[in-house]
Symmetry: none
Subunit: 699 residues, 2 copies
Amino acid sequence: MDSDLSHIIEQALLYASPLPLGPKPVDLNDADNVHQKVTVLHEPSCHADNMTSLVAAKNDLLTSEDGIHRFVEEMETFPTITSNEVRSKDLMGSDNSNEDINPHINLDITDNLHSSWLSKVNRSTDSEIIGEELTSALKVVQRCQPTLQEGELVIGSNPQPSDLQPKIKRKRNRVKNPDPPPEAILPPCKICDEKSSGYHYGTNTCEPCKAFFRRTLKKKEVNYQCKCQKGEQEMWKQGPYKNGCPACRYERCLMMGMSQNAIKIGRYTTNHKNKNIKEVKTLEAQEKSLNKNLGTSLSNGNQTISTVEVVIIENQSSDLNEPIAGTSYCIELQKGMDEGNLLEIAFTQAADNTSLESLISKMLSSASGEGTGCQSSPTEFSQGSSSSFQQSKDSELHSSQSTGLTQKSSSESASVTTIPHYLRMGITLKEIDTIVKTLTEAHRTTQLIQSVPIEQVRQRQAEYLEKYHLKTQLFGEMRAISRAEFTEFFKATGIEIDGRNEEIECALNFFQKRIAFLVAFAKSIPGFRDLSLDDQASLIKASRVESSILSSYRQMMLNFDQKTQILITPWGREFHLKEIDGILPCDLIYQRIKYSERVHGLGMTYQEEAVLRALLTMAPDRCELHDPDRCAAMQEKLFVCLQHLLTVRHGGPGRMLFKIMDIITDFRKLTEAENTIDRTYIKPHIMKEKYSLLREFMA
Amino acid sequence: MDSDLSHIIEQALLYASPLPLGPKPVDLNDADNVHQKVTVLHEPSCHADNMTSLVAAKNDLLTSEDGIHRFVEEMETFPTITSNEVRSKDLMGSDNSNEDINPHINLDITDNLHSSWLSKVNRSTDSEIIGEELTSALKVVQRCQPTLQEGELVIGSNPQPSDLQPKIKRKRNRVKNPDPPPEAILPPCKICDEKSSGYHYGTNTCEPCKAFFRRTLKKKEVNYQCKCQKGEQEMWKQGPYKNGCPACRYERCLMMGMSQNAIKIGRYTTNHKNKNIKEVKTLEAQEKSLNKNLGTSLSNGNQTISTVEVVIIENQSSDLNEPIAGTSYCIELQKGMDEGNLLEIAFTQAADNTSLESLISKMLSSASGEGTGCQSSPTEFSQGSSSSFQQSKDSELHSSQSTGLTQKSSSESASVTTIPHYLRMGITLKEIDTIVKTLTEAHRTTQLIQSVPIEQVRQRQAEYLEKYHLKTQLFGEMRAISRAEFTEFFKATGIEIDGRNEEIECALNFFQKRIAFLVAFAKSIPGFRDLSLDDQASLIKASRVESSILSSYRQMMLNFDQKTQILITPWGREFHLKEIDGILPCDLIYQRIKYSERVHGLGMTYQEEAVLRALLTMAPDRCELHDPDRCAAMQEKLFVCLQHLLTVRHGGPGRMLFKIMDIITDFRKLTEAENTIDRTYIKPHIMKEKYSLLREFMA
DNA sequence: AAATCAGGTCACAAGGTCAG
DNA sequence: CTGACCTTGTGACCTGATTT
Ligand SMILES: [Zn+2]
Ligand SMILES: [Zn+2]
């Protein structure tokens, strides 16, 4: 830290010498250099040469972002811009603040036109910094604009002087912003989570959503048809989402309070600005700081929600998802999901005393047909034959034509016209495609998705926070009653101090449900069912942590509020992190949250998520298998699928893949940790017959 | 819609008369500058000059023909354009953003129309800013239009001043686009190489291919039958192609990433547009330079050793690295390696009390040129390698080129439009080849290779085993003296029970040497040295376990005998696994051995190993970096290299890659384990100054 | 004067249609 | 089935108006 200085010097030296800085180092402070550069730039004859040297110089200055750098960079790219591309407005310079269009380009054009006299003038210019010169120059030009127009108008229409003045003034405003865009901080689009462009119709939205809403407003009759797939409507309800469905989009717009009347124009009030900032901060905090905070936040978790914006909505359609009053939080199974069969088995059969093995085995073998849940997709995948493309109506399966999702992909992938390496093996693209579709579908239908908008969740959390405070005031920290104490007390007296056993029952119940989902998903993995039942069971068990995190992390992000430290469990209860220790080990929960955040941070698409989930499920080295090779072969295919997805999305799987691998690694640790915890915490509770499925999993 | 009529009339009027704006010059408020500018622009005499210089300048800037050329073309043809063809809005200039119409055209129009009077406007030279003046001038001209029109209207319709404002606005609307082909620049169809019609389903495709893909999407069941002739399938894989085969066509669509979710709609961003242009440029450039590259890269590939197992070298110069007396077990540094510089610093400098940071930094910065270390000994190695069988194997595989570049050469006869294989993310095959070579070389020269044949080793192990048995018979299990006991004893009495401290010194010494190697290798990674020194250091530290295992596992396999459980350490001592615990935690050694076995089990080639080592070194997610992105970019390249190598070797990297990833994953666990162990075992020993380098690594 | 938004414009792609 | 063409909706970018 303190040795930094010398270190920096070292570095400086290092970089200074060996690298070819180009003829004239770019030195911002030195006027001469600067001028030179400018001159150079405008000297047609020198053009090419200087270009290269400038570029070279640029590359040497690693960190700096400043004017010249950018300038140089643009010079570099400029040549590719053809005349078509330059908008007249750019040339005219009256354009206000287009961030993409760079003024320097204008310069260059101009240069080209007039290089002869330009270069001369330029040299004699004073010792200002280039960028500024340029911009100021721009400014001047722009000034001319309005004025001129003014003149014309006078001619044509006999204007009143009074008219003239304001006009000029107004025009001036438009004068260039010399410095880079301050780039106001804004929370993301409430509708689609994209980068928002401001507060539109009463809500922070992106430009597209704004336009969409405007168009809709203009319509005399709104009759959008919902184009959503199975679980997508829930996604819309839950939070920002994006797919091609205008009906749901519009509905969400309304949900978020967009309307003509909510319009607000003009400059932000400080208040509003602060609100924005706060909101962003909150979001960021949520994304990042969980790790460090936990320790401390456990002790001081009584901050109030100051920044959560509770959007008050007149919700006309509070139909199905209305959480019931006080506590009962509604868990919605996928509507489309025909879970009957599966769960039936899971729960009914569990009642008898079949051997543990046979329990899962039954679940596994039961859904041999299409009948069960997610299996509607191709079942017999086995060895790459994939002959049966019974995508039934899934043609649009993941039709989430997430418009705009691809912008990223387009940005990177240059000219990849060749078949990637990873495809050189037996697997065909078609197969990949099918696998991905199948898995995505299965993934979507084997997770619990609540359709409660985040605002409601937060609200509920806020409410609970108050309750919690009250409780703690009355009884002191709930946490004080440790699990050990409780058990002791319970054994001795038969009295549940705080009714936690009931809670535990709920939790266990939920766990069993989730297991059913895990099984269902696993079964949908192409080839999975070709394995022996034993192996199937082993795999599912071994991957339960991964699979369940991948299937629930989005919910987790929704249901846990960093600020208040309040978690709403999937079975619908609120807990402050501090009190949860009585039911489940706090650490476990915490770990889960942490991992959820990490996964969330990856920003995977649904498809990637699904494939990864499958990949992790099919891990032959996680457990003893009868036929590990077969499993490995399938896993390999899944890996190829994942690679393909990543490659397609960001012109190269590179970084993402590593990040994922990194998390996988840690997943294993988590699994280990959970295994121990489960044994101590859960096991004692699952002796009841109805939890035999669970028991099996804990074996 | 409604304003159309009047608008049309307006237009008609406008164009009907040759637009004599009237003698009144544009009168500006502060007009001098502007006037001048205008003058310049419209000075017929200047015109030609500017034009030509412009063109000249342009040609410097780009290779391509289109941009300005087209512009020039348009300039020339413009006069013939009739009113229909020009949008009024363009003329009027107040229009906001037509990107396709080139401003210059406007300029020219105006020029032509008005040159008569415009040129007369006085030109008082003024040394104000230039480029902008120009643009302003442009604007002026354009603004004239509407005004003028206004004037016209006045004549015709007796306007009220109040009317004026809105009118201008109205004009902008809805002028039909009569304009000629704006014809955006687009790269060709990625599927069939035809002229593309845009970005469809995430890819630039032609209209037919788009339709084809759409139809396919709509199908519920895709069962195309391949109708390809022999060889045609390869064509499809290779690049854009076209024959009647829907199966392959679809396959390629998927390949190129077409999909529902890749849909992007709406207007292009400037960015996207630029990307297109760039891509077109790149394509053009590639076509040109392809042949050259191929020629050169083919000719300079003289590297042969790819699968060397153990390189045996007769060592004449066992200079500085002389290990410990007693048993003379020879550790050889690569002869050619000019390590002096490096190690010097590592060891000499270590003596003084420089801060830790600067220590590594110095090592990092020392080898600024190519001169150092691993870079220097390419030739010797190939001589030294005795293994002839590999060569033959190699030549079978891919004749001269180790990286399989030959494939390309074989296909070079293909259509010109075919882009080389493996050309992703801007990486050319040549680049891959170079990287691989560099790394292989570096890898080879930054590891300790002993020159003892395995028989000798085994023999020695056998001998030691006897000794060991004797010892244990005499003293009982060595292991009995635990580290704790020893430390205690040593502290108390100052007596080393079994001279283990000496051993430890040896080990530490060796570790330091190895660090030097790690650094040297890292530095040879292309791009590594572009990172900041801090980052470099962080990366090296973070990857030390991986890198050292990859550089030593072969030795490890050689030096550890599973049967006897006897290990010969790299610093030349024998140990039974049981006794080693006194010096290093047995578990660590054991882990190392285990991992070495795993890696060995992969059967990687030397090249793969080298690339993998580099890949692992360049892991941006392992540690905090100032510039993770840059690092990630390089890592991606390395990843491509690895993929390429694997692909070449076994026609598909699939499984292998996955296995590797799997091991990588576990490496991280190992790293963590070692970090803890290091802290407890090693740290206490490295307080001596000469171990400061080591100390830094343990930080 | 600067910030900030409603609204407008139109380049652009999805999906449909229909004649080959 | 193919692909040219059409219709419809989207969203990037701009301007003028409105606030603070
Ligand atoms: Zn949005
Ligand atoms: Zn095509």
